[in-house]
Every structure is written in structure tokens, then in C-alpha cells.
Point group: C2
Chain length 148, copies 2
Amino acid sequence: MGYTVKTMAEKANLSPHVLRYYEKEGLLPHVKRTKGGNRHYSDGDLEWLGLVCCLKNTGMSIKQIREFVNLRLQGPETLKARCDMLLAHKEEVEKHIEEMNRHLEKVTHKIEHFTKQYEEYSSGEAHGQEAMRTWGQTPSVHKKKSIE
Amino acid sequence: MGYTVKTMAEKANLSPHVLRYYEKEGLLPHVKRTKGGNRHYSDGDLEWLGLVCCLKNTGMSIKQIREFVNLRLQGPETLKARCDMLLAHKEEVEKHIEEMNRHLEKVTHKIEHFTKQYEEYSSGEAHGQEAMRTWGQTPSVHKKKSIE
DNA sequence: TATTGACTTAGAGTTAACGTTAAGGTTTAT
DNA sequence: ATAAACCTTAACGTTAACTCTAAGTCAATA
């Protein structure tokens, strides 16, 4: 029971490099070694890495994750602090998601706008404008200069 | 009708520096100048910048935004391409948001877990464990070494 | 036992998207 | 007229999160 860097990396869908990097950054403390000095990850490490990845994947910086890890290392007196930290993070992420959704709405509007324009344009082209192109300059009266 | 860099920057909540940077990177083409050479942004520029910011704020890279701008500069033949690009981006962002939500659920679980542990711990401390701490080592029998 | 391949380290390099500083000049607003 | 804001170029600095390199060590197989 225990994994090499490579196995661990596969399980976590990360590169071995990143695992070593995380360890160096203090995100994965107390990783055991074999006699030879090779990393030997436990299931506990794997579970912990799971949480670390969750935090990272929701945008928490490595610096902040390190703070979280440091709290954990200080024992159960920091349970409340850790809980608060996660709660704060959760709220931030939720706010972030809301913002993304707002921005996305604007994009959706633009898409609708473009779709309409595209339909107009392509139908215009299908019924005669294509021919005009080959004959010379399009009369400016017919072709309003669109901003989009 | 027209804005200086500073005004424009305030409207967009960016620094003047970033506006010049975006222009240099090709994100804001055809910005008019005064006789003297100062930038003189139009409402059209402002609107365009709005879209650029939306894309940026939903995580599109400057490189990709530049591609989008370049399509626009090629005229209405690229309407479909632009539309497709935005659609693809939208889907990506939606996928990203879903993923965030999934990760967030895990965080929520952890929070519940921590809350429970914290309550146990603090009630334990309130009814006698605090005293024990001042007397010496906590007997290992009573204090299971938690992984969290 | 030899060799291959995975592991180790420290440290340098990369990328994106800015930010900073400076020099030296021009424009605009009051 | 004078101060504040603007211009350009150009290079250097910053931060985050990797990513790679070099030079060496360890482990498993033929």
C-alpha cells in the first residue's frame, strides 16, 4: 500500500513534476520515503491531495492553500479557522461564478446579434450580392457599413 | 463626444496603461486621434471594449481575443466564424462553471465535516479537556489522531 | 551484472498579463 | 501661461504556476 510519484500523479491527473512542486511548496507535508529516498505516498496523502486539488481547481492560490495546510499542521485548535477559511473561499467562488454568468449573458447577447446579422448577410449573398461582388464595387447605398 | 484615455479607462475600470497595451496588442483597432495625436475614443470603441472585457473576464486569452478582433476586421464574411468562436467559448465557460460547481460541492462536504469535528472538539474542550491541557500530556487513548 | 528507466535535487527558464520607470517631448484645459 | 495630462519607445520588474535541465542515484529486469 503506497504509490510512487508516477502512480500518484496518474491518480491525481497531475504530472510528477507538479507533485514534487506542491510538496516543495508545502501543500503535501510529511510524504514518506523508501529507504532509497523515493517518495512513497499513502492513501491519506491521496485523500489530502484531493482536497488540495479541489481548492486549487476552484481558484485558490497555492499561497492560500499553504496557509490552510499550515493550519492543519497546528492541530485541532485550528479547526474553526480552517472551517472559516473554507467558508470564505466558498463564498468567493460563488460570487465569482455569478460574475462569470453575468459576463456570459452578454456574450450570449452578442451571439444572438451575430447570428441575426449572419443570417441577413448570407441570405443577401445567396440572392444576388454574390454576383455584384464579381462586377465591381458594391454601391454604398445597399451595404451599410456595420460596426459588428 | 469622445473620451481621453483616462476617461475611457475609468469607464472600463482599467488603467490607461492597459488601454494602450490592449491597443498595441490589437484588441482595440482604429482608435481615432486628435490633431495633436492624443487618443480620442468613441462610443463605438467603448462598446467594443465592453465585449473585449467580457471575453477577457470569462477567461479568454488576449491572443484569442486578438484572433476574434482580426476576424472582425476582415468584414462580414467572417460573421459565421466569429459566431462560432463565441459559441465555442460560451460552451467552454459553461463547462468550466459546471466543473467549479462540482469542486465546490466537495468543498461544501469538507466544510460540513469540519463543522462537525469542530463542534465535537470545542464541546470536549468546554467540559474538561481544557483543564487537562494545563496538566500535561493528553492521554492518547482519548484523543484519536484525526487525519483532518 | 549491466543496463534501462524511474527517481532524486537544485536551480534556471517560461508564459501571460500586466506594472513600473524613465526619458524626452507634446497637448490640452484653466 | 502653466500645470496636468498626454504621447512614444524601450526596457526592466512582477506574480503565479508551472516546466525543464543537469547531473546524479536507485530499482527492476535481462
